[in-house]
């Protein structure tokens, strides 16, 4: 494994900071070997993406073992960048400390722009060399969800390759206005087969889902001929459009008492949750499933606003 500095910057009060990448399969500093840039993996971009960093730490451990056993295929290499914003994580802050900017809205970046724009440009310069790209972003809604591969319909996407992760679902999503500033979109545009792997949560560690995500990445690398690794076959992914899911919104605001968990099969009419008045404790509304299906997403905040999405259900599907 070789450590590589992707981007360096200084802050006014803490001095020099470096964003590191770790390259597996390209030898060491003292003994570098020729290897093509095969796959790059990017972890936490925001300060609250603890699950994403945790998965990277697991991957780093496994990739080290694989490399030690000589099981990175000769001539191939894997770059792992566990965190591009560790200062925010240390300060318990979500976005870039100095200006609250979101790195995942700064791509493709500008080498002469603000710090996050320069960081994005440096990342793109490095990541664009790789054939395959895997990113662990956080879901845009707070809560728990089934691990899945999400692909934006950019015109460059490949659902066939996404199946090779062996996760239960591959979710196809329409592009939203802000997607043009994300790593995934710009990575695809730069010619890399890029995938977003959503790993079940953000600020809390979910060991089971972290293991699923780690295995999925290693399975993919193995199937692409980058590592030699015997893994279980995983799932034959169900490909679905994100918009086809049924969203259930809160009819009232208050305490959100969950009765069902994600990845559970439900019937139409099943009680999924109750919303309770924080002042007098009475049930303001019962949340019932409008369809048969599987709970894909569940809000996990103790208190919720009115009209927020609290469940998303994949309709008419059985486990």
């Amino acid at each position: 494994m070789r450590q590589k500095t992707i981007f360096s910057y200084e802050t006014p009060f803490s001095g020099e900071h470096n964003i590191y990448g770790f390259v597996y399969g390209a030898g060491s500093y003292s003994d570098p070997s020729e290897a093509e840039p095969s796959a790059a993996i990017v972890g936490a971009m925001r300060g609250n993406e603890h699950q994403q960093l945790y998965i990277c730490s697991k991957l780093a451990s496994r990739l080290s073992e694989i490399e030690e056993h000589g099981d990175i295929v000769h001539g191939k290499s894997v770059l792992l960048i566990p965190s591009v914003n560790y200062s925010a994580m240390n300060a318990n802050h979500k976005f870039w400390l100095s200006d609250d900017s979101d790195i995942n809205r700064e791509f493709p970046g500008n080498p002469e722009g603000t710090a996050t724009s320069r960081l994005a440009a440096s990342l793109m310069e490095e990541l664009g060399k790789y054939s395959y790209g895997i990113q662990f972003p956080s879901y845009y809604m707070r809560g728990r969800f089934i691990p899945h591969v999400r692909i934006m319909k950019t015109g460059y996407e490949s659902t066939n390759l996404a199946n090779l992760f062996g996760l239960p679902f591959v979710m196809l999503a329409e592009m939203r206005a802000f997607d043009e500033g994300t790593l995934n979109y710009n990575w695809q545009k730069a010619g890399t087969e890029a995938f977003s792997l959503y790993s079940g949560g953000t600020s809390r560690i979910n060991e089971e889902y972290a293991e699923i995500a780690t295995s999925a990445v290693l399975r993919f690398l193995s199937r692409m001929g980058i590592i030699k690794y015997n893994s279980m076959g995983g799932n034959i992914s169900t490909i679905m459009e994100e918009d086809e899911m049924i969203s259930i919104k809160s009819e009232s605001a208050g305490f959100f008492k969950r009765m069902k968990n994600v990845n559970v099969e439900v019937r139409r009419g099943d009680l999924l949750a109750e919303i309770i008045d924080p002042m007098d404790g009475h049930v303001l509304s019962e949340v019932r499933s409008p369809v048969d299906g599987i709970i894909f997403y569940q809000q996990d905040a103790p208190l919720i606003y009115q009209n927020v999405v609290i469940f998303r259900i994949i309709k008419k599907i059985h486990k």
Binding site: Y9, K94, E112, T116, R118, K249, S252, Y305
Partner: protein, 315 residues
């Protein structure tokens, strides 16, 4: 008349309300024109508060001169203003990316939808002729009074923008006028709208505020909505994006400026220094790369490599 245009139940014992003050002439003829003033879309921008107050105060002082309808929405993101955060607290969403919103949406989207409906509706009055979205820069920069507009709407917006008494009109694809912003969506719906920026976040600059209020009355006068006297307004300098030079820091530390907004600088002139407070040394002398007028200067002193220190425009 004070009206509530949106109300949303918050989680514990509170209802979020977005209010407007509709000022109408004493005698309605049915031929009145209508404008809307919106502020407080970001919880750290307070400049619009003063402007809304001053417009209402001046109208009330000479109510008989009002011959049109003025809708004032002083604080459309009240939760963020209460919490002193830029975005909507909780979901941390940028309200100016949520338009046109949705009635079935959560707090921000619902409020955005109600606001768009209220401004574009002609159910209880004429359709809004013009909307001004009043911003107050951000925490990091101090800016001269300016109007920002997209280059695809210049012909429609410029007749209004040039009357608003700002120092500059900046034609560019800024994030204040993009898809999802209030102004963008209103323009799409036929309500001519633009954004004004001035001063910096968490501040009120009364001089700039009064300058913009004079401009608002000039527009009202031009639309036949105000029969009273108005102060003379200045003609703004119109700048295209390629006339704006950005000066970004190449080091980190504390920025000590030698210049202020409105100052004229010549190429090669010292604009300020980036200092190291531990060693007592100057890390970087910031030199003007071009001649022009300072239209924005760093307000928040702590900077890092890449921080925007100033904009220079050849006015």
């Amino acid at each position: 008349m004070i009206e509530t245009v949106a109300r949303v139940n918050l989680m514990v014992n509170e209802v979020l309300k977005i209010k407007k003050n509709r000022l109408t002439p004493d005698n309605i003829t049915g031929d009145e024109k209508r404008i809307a003033l919106v502020s407080g879309i970001y919880g750290d921008e307070l400049q619009g508060m003063y402007i809304c107050y001053e417009v209402i105060r001046r109208i009330k002082e000479d109510y008989g001169s009002l011959t049109g309808i003025v809708d004032v929405y002083p604080y459309i993101n009240p939760l963020a203003l209460e919490a002193k955060t830029r975005e909507i607290p909780g979901p941390e969403l940028d309200m100016n990316e949520l338009f046109p919103g949705a009635k079935s949406g959560a707090l921000g989207e619902y409020a955005a939808s109600c606001l768009i409906d209220d401004i574009t509706s002609s159910e209880d009055g004429p359709k809004t002729e013009f909307c001004l979205d009043i911003h107050g820069s951000d925490l990091y920069l101090k800016e001269i009074p300016q109007i920002r507009m997209n280059d695809d709407m210049v012909d429609e917006i410029m007749p209004y923008a040039t009357k608003l008494n700002t120092d500059m009109v900046w034609i560019h694809p800024s994030n204040q006028v993009k898809n999802g912003s209030l102004v963008y969506e209103l323009n799409q719906r036929g309500v001519i709208s633009c954004v004004t920026e001035s001063t910096s976040a968490y501040r009120i600059d009364q001089k700039y505020g009064n300058q913009l209020v004079d401009g608002i009355f000039a527009i009202m006068k031009a639309l036949g909505m105000w029969q009273g006297e108005i102060n003379q307004v200045k003609k703004p300098h119109v700048a295209r994006d390629n006339q704006v030079t950005y000066i970004n820091s190449e080091s980190s530390g504390i920025f000590i400026p030698n210049v202020d907004v409105h100052d004229r600088v010549e190429a090669g002139m010292l604009m300020g220094s980036v200092i190291n407070v531990l060693t007592g040394t100057v890390e970087q002398k910031v030199i003007a790369p071009t001649s022009g007028t300072i239209t924005a200067i760093r307000e928040y002193p702590a900077i890092e490599m890449g921080s925007l220190l100033a904009r220079i425009v050849e006015l």
